[in-house]
Symmetry: none
Subunit: 206 residues, 4 copies
């Protein structure tokens, strides 16, 4: 009676991947459990062995996607990198640029979550935490820049909000018009523009 290896986790992420693909393509509502099952190469019944309901799958996606996203930023900020903070931020934007292909496909899912946040407490709470952490990480970077004398004594929180907003906004604009908004160039340009405003030498007397 050799214990069979637990395929449970494997199945769950197999389903999750399928669901993400299908939801991205069709939206939460238009996507049928059948579609997900087919995409996952499983039967419809099997889905219910691993997830209690469609909503449970959606909830799992919420967690998975944004956690994934956060990991990237986290691991970047965690280790104190050499080089100027400005350089680091530019490297971060570089990474974001590279992740864009993947992210772009998932944006419809993200937008649906944003929409849902307006009516579902739990989704709302989760996203709130997500963005809070996101801003906190960015703020830490900014603070580092201030500490090192690279940046003026700005409010790191405010700058973090600004940068986070910038990333999100650019992602939207790119999603809607990839031709007009060359993501990888634009994120660099935009970030640089902002960093110019942060530089320790104030650009002009206020």
């Amino acid at each position: 009676m050799s214990p069979r290896p637990d395929v449970s986790e494997e199945r769950k992420s197999q389903i999750l991947d399928a669901a993400i693909a299908v939801f991205a393509r069709l939206g939460f509502h238009q996507a049928r459990m059948d579609d997900i099952a087919q995409e996952a190469g499983l039967s419809k019944g099997a889905l219910y062995l691993y997830y209690k309901s469609k909503d449970t799958i959606i909830a799992a996606i919420l967690k998975y996607l944004f956690t994934q996203e956060m990991k990237v930023l986290h691991s970047f900020v965690a280790t104190e990198q050499p080089g100027s903070v400005r350089t680091q931020l530019e490297q971060l934007t570089q990474q974001l640029a590279e992740a864009m292909n993947w992210m772009s496909r998932l944006m419809p899912i993200a937008f649906e979550f944003y929409a849902i946040a307006g009516r579902q407490k739990e989704v709302h709470q989760f996203l709130k935490e997500y963005f809070k952490e996101y801003r906190a990480d960015i703020a830490r970077l900014i603070q580092r820049g201030i500490d090192r004398g690279e940046f003026r004594a700005v409010n790191p929180q405010a700058v973090a909000i600004t940068l986070t907003a910038l990333y999100e906004g650019l992602a939207l604009l790119f999603f809607v018009d990839p031709q007009a908004v060359q993501w990888s160039e634009q994120i660099t340009t935009s970030t640089r523009l902002l960093l110019d405003g942060l530089a320790s030498q104030p650009p002009s007397p206020q």
Copy 2:
């Protein structure tokens, strides 16, 4: 004798208003035609006298909302204002700040449209045009600033994208966490930060 006045237009906007309220509260999918009818104080059948289908209502909302939005910006940029462009932009952000209450309630609808844009050509095209115009208006302002010597010789398009992205992103962040992201202050701060980077005196040698 007295010809009954044409209530058609009145009904249509009555329904539109109701639909916006209901969709914002429940989302496109969860909202039933009955809900809209009730909110409008009409019968379900009456809805179909003025809109062919639920989708037609949604399409009408798309046009209405974003056109409304655009009008504000348009009328602002159209008339060449006295005072520095920087001041004008700060005034614009002020206006945006004031419009936030109204906009905030509609954001779930906007997000659903962004999500839908991924799968519906027409929605996609419409939003593309919207953002294009939006950026063009902003770019015009920036160009004015460059012409007047207020700003460095930056690429107005790139700055317009940056500002538009910033507004959109901030709206999202505010929507998710109004406590942490004080909209009216933050939009001012963020814009100022960016404008600092534009000032004609370059902040520091690169």
Copy 3:
């Protein structure tokens, strides 16, 4: 105060004509009261001034159409014509042939009534009477032929049924395939074939 002429009857037949046209085109169910109103050049409300309901209109059509049909036959049989009965029958088929254009358009209506007869007592009863009268008229003709020695001593009822069935069946076949079933020729041929079987000289020893 000259009494206005009663337009009531005029309106009723105006509506009936319109309804017949629409029902023939669309069928009882698919035809909307709106369609009838439009065809009649009246408002939907006006229909209800003259007919209590859609079903009432349908009932009126039932009576109108088949009574109309019966009149033709009746007036033909009523007056004792000169010439042989065989000739008379051939003249009758001639008349039927000429009426075919008009009838052809109405056949879908007739078929719907036949179908409805299976579930609505009143329709059933009406059609039963109609066909009874129809057969009786034909039987009278046949009897005349027997009396005159033109025909064998057949059962006039049975022959009447046969002829009536023949007319109805040919109408169906013509309706379905006018190309293959040349109505005016075929009804002549078929009738002649039958009359041959009736002729007083038995065709062959049995």
Copy 4:
């Protein structure tokens, strides 16, 4: 282990039978999917597992019924029977007489199809083919009779049309008034009457 047997075909005919019963009773329009489901002992949803829509069921019935009908005639005509053609035709009428009970219940359905043929190309085309084949089969019999010298040199096509029309017409008359139109006797009488007209010894000089 035991693979579940494919119930698909069984279910389809189970539904078809139920639908035929319900449609015959209520008509295509008045019959609700719920009625069919109940008659079939299935849920409404199950119906849609096997038929895409109500119309699909109706289309299936069209094919089923008339194909069934045709099979009877076909198998009769296919094998060259011994005995005179006249006898064969009388046997055929005998068969039709026996099938009448079954047919009688289905006549409302047939009439609805005839009515629909006026507006639906596909139904029209199908019935056209059906009657074409029907006539062709009968014509073959008649031709056989001519070849054998039983019948005069009539036009087999015309006679086939006549006989087909006779059968259809008699079915209608019987459906409307079974009391007055004793089907099994009448079809025999009518057919005989016609055959008399066909006999090789012309009844009278024309």
